[in-house]
């Protein structure tokens, strides 16, 4: 019954465009895009995740659909294939679709008008459109953020990542459609990945509070440094679709907070160890 209410509400609204961005590379944008999109889909929202990293696509690998790519985003923009041909339906979650980037073309082929048309078309039939931004501040990254309503700013607790995120936050406020058309600003969310509370306690790593204080955007949560992230990408499964994964649980908490629910913050403190495990030095 609740689901019906939600669905009716969604039918009246256009899909929300969420960009996953960071500036710096290798901080977990694609991992976050895949995990977050899968999480939204599991929560019942029809979700599509778009790879904007033209020439260096990887979302297909992380989602485990690399062998099913026939048409891509640029084919659709240039009319060489239809949107329905390019969309890949996830085999695990019914509500989840992937729109891959082109691996062969140059990123300059990504036109703002073309992307705008694709997003407008997707907005008719989806609840959420997750845009996986490439690293840097080049055309791909600017196109990925341009149409965003909300942004997940993915940051590692590490100085170069925080500085780059600050630059990206500045661009979200000035170089997006919402900024140019004087609409309400892009709603930003801080996602801190590869977080290690033990190192934070020792003073070897910036704390989530430090990063939050410096970047000064609403805090969505941390993803703990976790072996399950590499294990999931090795097997082409978004980490939210794996069992018993701390990172997967952290992403689900964030999805729920993003959807407006209250979830206690987890994975921010050093896990308590029993007397015996302390004595024998096991986990």
């Amino acid at each position: 019954m609740i689901a019906d209410i939600f669905n009716n509400k969604e039918e009246q609204e256009l899909a929300k465009v969420v960009v996953v961005t960071s500036g710096k590379g290798g901080v977990g944008k694609t991992t976050t895009s895949a995990a977050f999109a899968a999480g939204l889909a599991i929560r019942g929202y029809k979700t599509v995740v778009i790879d904007f990293d033209v020439g260096l696509r990887n979302l297909d690998l992380i989602m485990g659909c690399e062998r099913r790519v026939v048409y891509d985003l640029l084919n659709v923009i240039h009319g060489e294939g239809s949107l329905n041909q390019a969309l890949i339906k996830d085999k695990r979650v019914g509500n989840l679709f992937i729109l891959p980037a082109s691996q062969t073309r140059d990123k300059d082929a990504l036109s703002m008008e073309g992307v705008g048309e694709v997003i407008a078309a997707l907005q008719q039939s989806f609840d959420y459109i997750v845009c996986d931004s490439p690293a840097g501040i080049e055309k791909g990254a600017m196109t990925a953020m341009y149409f965003a309503d909300e942004a997940l700013v993915v940051t590692n607790p590490e100085i170069s990542s925080v500085r780059d995120s600050d630059r990206i936050i500045g661009m979200l406020a000035s170089k997006t459609r919402r900024a140019e058309q004087n609409l309400s600003p892009v709603k930003e969310h801080l996602v801190i990945t590869r977080y290690d509370p033990i190192r934070v306690n020792k003073g070897d790593m910036l704390s989530a509070d430090d990063v939050h204080e410096i970047l000064a955007i609403p805090f969505l949560g941390v993803v703990p440094e976790s072996k399950s992230v590499l294990a999931a990408s090795n097997s082409g499964i978004p980490v939210t679709l794996t069992d018993d994964s701390d990172a997967g649980e952290a992403y689900f908490d964030m999805v729920d907070r993003f959807l407006g629910q209250d979830r206690p913050f987890r994975f921010m403190d050093v896990p308590k160890r029993s007397f015996l495990s302390r004595l024998f030095g096991t986990q």
Partner: protein, 86 residues
């Protein structure tokens, strides 16, 4: 380990150094967008115009953009040393 920490605790942690460095660089870079790119060449042009009338060198002209509340203020300072006064 705890025992040795007693001797090391005087040094600030690397995380607090990182935080301090970040706060400085980030606040510096946030201010930068208000400083237009054309400032150096504007300064050069003004210098040339002023030089038609008074002999001054580059060090005597200072151009800066400041933010005061909602206003941006373009400030031009030309200092005239005693020797160039006519």
């Amino acid at each position: 380990m705890k025992f040795f920490d007693l001797f090391r605790s005087k040094r600030p942690s690397s995380a607090s150094i990182a935080k301090e460095r970040l706060q400085i660089i980030v606040s510096h870079e946030r201010r930068r967008p208000s400083t237009p790119d054309f400032l150096p060449s504007l300064q050069k042009d003004i210098l040339e115009v002023v030089r038609k009338y008074i002999h001054i060198n580059e060090n005597q002209i200072k151009l800066s953009v400041d933010r005061k509340g909602d206003c941006e203020v373009l400030e031009l300072n030309i200092s005239l040393s005693d020797s160039v006064k006519k």
